[in-house]
Amino acid sequence: MIRDQGLLSKIWRFAVWAVAGLFILNLLGVIAAVIVNSFATRWLGTWLPLGLTTKWYFSAWKEFQLSSVVLVTFQVVFAVVIISGLLGVTTAYALARRDFPGKRIVVLLFLLPLLIPPLTYGIPLATVLYQLGLGGSFWGVVLINLVPSLPFVVLVMIPFIEQIDPRIEAAARVFGAGTGSLFLRILLPLLLPGMLAALLLVLVRTIAMFELTFLVAGPTSQTLVVSLYYAVFASGVRAGQSIDAMAVIYMVTTLFWLVLALQFVNPSQIVARAKQQPAS
């Protein structure tokens, strides 16, 4: 590693860290503002609220019918994770192991949804779903959420499968393993860490996916983030603390899965397939 000792380098280094520090301070301030407000009895024109209470959590749970919203959120998210996991891993396996004419087009097809704004494909897809009678239903929400999550699983799994030596499968075949036992006893154990990482990432992203769910969600198929949007949108109708209590509940559900996901993946994998090299 190289360290420059000149005065200008020191000033520059200080400035860079100062900007990074200020950003993190503001970021934590935004999160802390929500948490503090959710416990506030009254918070107007002072640095900190006058008193603390937990009553907003009880009122928010009842007012926003959170028990059913949380249940629906988990049903939607697990349906999306299971379907995109099954389809994504099989697709990724074929794309990683075989080279066939037209493969580039297929890969491009899985890249496109990540490059196009969700509303651009969401609005035509929502129109189709409404005409099929799926608008506002549970399966409508699941289907629209598959569009970004299936390609995500495929793109995360392709490099993971490519690094498994195909000769292991060939050896299993030589020793007489059928397709079923080859999959169950050879591939599945090898693929499990990668699948777990990919599926947890999909889970975290689907809980936070607002735009697409918002387009097709009906009163009985709202997820937490959509309910939170409606609550903030109509703020003034209900106490701000109640809305923030709901935001904290949303935050806790998301962070629970994020912490779990971070046991298996590097944080930067949430945005990209990072090829991390240790900086020396």
Partner: protein, 292 residues
């Protein structure tokens, strides 16, 4: 001698049982992505009334509608440039850290919490009585509370809070992908820090930065919930996604909604292609330091 069977000939070109595993996933994408896209395109060309291009003609003749393109770009392009301009120097510092995990974990928070949560938090944080205004008045930068929500700056702030970590983490993964031996070689040969950055790192990074710019731009361009909650959705931050949503789900004109969605995708793709096209003007090659 018999000709090889059809099965053998197909297998030699890469088509066999394993290849067929691609079909279920492909079918889902064709059904949920390609078909709706063409459905939307056809739908946008069949307006409620008027000639086939009436939706597009209406959009580009109504200033309330066509100005949404400028409003969106006026938010998305500065935000992306700011995010990237801060991400590169900070990533260069962080690359030297041995324990990056705490920092990257904090930065991944706003991405996972999403724009709705961040918008809700910023409404309190940036409000006239919020901590940001109070600190600014305390240190003397502001004379009185400054209105930072329900206008352009509120949306700008939310896009920085969610967009900067995204740009930073992507940049970091590119920066750490460059072999440190290249920098050591440049330093041994007497290159100053500025020279090492401008003549060694930057040319190697440009392709990665172009991709980062595109992905960060796509996110900022798609701004929707924070433009409604933190901006003035009828005024300066009436972005194109609001126009598309209102047409499709508030005026129940899915034909016009699809048309605006198509325009939105087209504008975004033009900018992405411009950026990716300019990438070819720079060096493209290995960033590793080993031979061969």
């Amino acid at each position: 001698m018999r000709a090889p069977s059809l099965r053998t000939r197909l297998a030699s070109r890469g088509f066999d049982g394993t290849t067929l595993l691609v079909l279920p996933g492909l079918a889902v994408m064709l059904g949920l992505f390609i078909y709706p896209f063409f459905y939307g395109l056809a739908d946008s060309l069949m307006p409620k009334e008027g000639v086939w291009y009436a939706n597009y003609a209406n959009f580009f003749s109504d200033p309330f509608q066509y100005r949404t393109i400028a409003a969106t770009l006026w938010l998305a392009i500065p935000v992306t440039i700011v995010n990237l301009a801060f991400a590169v120097p900070i990533a260069f510092r962080v690359r030297l850290m041995t324990r990056q995990r705490l920092l990257t974990t904090i930065l991944v928070l706003p991405i996972t919490l999403g724009t709705v949560f961040v918008a809700d938090g910023l409404l309190t944080f940036l409000g006239p009585q919020g901590w940001f205004n109070r600190v600014m008045i305390l240190v003397g930068l502001f004379d009185g509370p400054v209105k930072l929500t329900n206008n352009y700056w509120g949306v700008f702030a939310s896009l920085v809070i969610t967009g900067f970590p995204f740009a930073f983490l992507l940049t970091l993964s590119y920066v750490t992908g460059i072999d440190p031996a290249i920098e050591q070689a440049a330093a041994t040969l007497g290159a100053s820090p500025r020279q090492r950055f401008m003549r060694v790192f930057l040319p190697l990074l440009v392709p990665g930065l172009a991709v980062t710019f595109c992905l960060a731009f796509v996110q900022a361009f798609a701004v929707f919930p924070s433009a409604v909650l933190l901006g003035s959705p009828a005024g300066s931050t009436r972005v194109i996604s609001i126009a598309a949503y209102q047409a499709a789900f508030e005026q129940y004109d899915h034909s016009l909604g699809s048309a605006i969605a198509m325009i939105m995708g087209a504008v975004e793709l033009v900018i992405v292609l411009l950026v990716l096209g300019s990438r070819s003007l720079f060096y493209r090659g290995p960033t590793g330091g080993t031979k061969g």
